[in-house]
């Protein structure tokens, strides 16, 4: 692991310990009250979910057209993170919706397209695990569809009728709400970078293991 990894992991742990204090200090939203505070972890995890899908898609495209195993390892790592952050998004969202909307789930465009993106990430991992020889290229093709879904998820709230808050909410946040949100966002972004690095390292070690087994056979 690189030298910067452990100090940055320490910084990230301190940031995550400080985040609840900033979130608690932020004003209550006028109509939703306390439950709106789920937003401060929901939105950053949703952003990391979309970022993972983009990283997975770009790395898969580079693997498909360039054939670099390094890009394949990056794509595999990013797909796993898409499943992790997607799960956080899809669990925290309904918990917030139950109070704010009166229902756990609504089949509107934002929620449905997010669920589809999450299922594509799961499909990627399942193909990689059980697909046999050639599954890396098949999964890379799936990742392209996962990435194509990302802009659709992002803009969906602005073009279709939905009860999900629009993207315009974030730039108009008052100072204390904005500080809590962007601090949480920085926490999640750093965590994403660290997890991606450690997960890529795991794939590198697996590749090394394969090489060692091959050299033993010879």
């Amino acid at each position: 692991m690189p030298k910067w990894f452990m100090p940055l992991a320490g910084v990230n742990a301190v940031m995550f310990a400080a985040a609840p204090f900033l979130i608690a200090r932020a004003d209550y939203e006028s109509t939703m009250g306390l439950v709106q505070k789920i937003f401060y972890f929901h939105m950053p995890s949703a952003s990391m979910f979309l970022l993972s899908a983009v990283v997975c898609g770009i790395a898969s495209a580079r693997f498909l057209f360039g054939g670099s195993p390094r890009q394949d390892r990056l794509a595999y790592a990013a797909a796993e993170l898409a499943v992790l952050f997607g799960a956080i998004t899809l669990v925290t969202g309904p918990l917030w919706a139950r109070k704010a909307w009166g229902v756990w789930w609504a089949w509107d465009v934002r929620l449905t397209s997010s669920l589809m993106g999450w299922m594509v990430a799961w499909a990627y991992l399942l193909v990689r695990k059980y697909g046999g020889p050639g599954s890396d290229k098949l999964a890379a093709g799936l990742a392209l569809f996962g990435m194509a879904n990302v802009p659709f998820v992002y803009i969906s709230v602005n073009y279709w009728r939905t009860i999900h808050p629009k993207t315009s909410v974030v730039p108009t946040l008052p100072a204390d709400m904005g500080t809590a949100l962007w601090f949480s966002f920085a926490c999640f972004l750093l965590l994403f970078t660290l997890l991606l690095r450690v997960r890529v390292h795991l794939e590198e070690q697996r590749a090394k293991l394969d090489t060692l087994y091959l050299s033993l056979d010879e």
Partner: protein
């Protein structure tokens, strides 16, 4: 002094209709029935705190669970790499 007081009172009386025309804040409506909480819309009956705590608890559990899982997988692979490397080194020496 008495004259100025008289003028002040006259002015006050003259302004009274104007002041009466100012919009007055409506008093809250008198309660004519009690509504049991069970008859409120579903989202108004729910306490927010358990939902908030569940959401944050899930985030922590998911992140720690993933960290543990990656850590365990990495340790396992690392051990096997070390074992194979030592086997190969021993094989080369003999």
């Amino acid at each position: 002094m008495r004259t100025s007081l008289t003028y002040f009172l006259l002015l006050l009386v003259a302004c009274a209709p104007l002041m009466a025309q100012q919009p007055q804040p409506a008093p809250p409506a008198a309660t004519d029935e009690f509504v049991p909480i069970s008859q409120l819309p579903a989202q108004d009956q729910l306490p927010a705190a358990p939902l908030l705590v569940t959401a944050y608890a899930f985030v922590w559990v998911a992140l720690f669970g993933y960290l543990l899982s990656v850590g365990r997988r990495l340790t396992k692979v690392q051990r096997e790499v070390d074992r194979l490397e030592s086997d190969i080194a021993r094989g080369t020496r003999t």
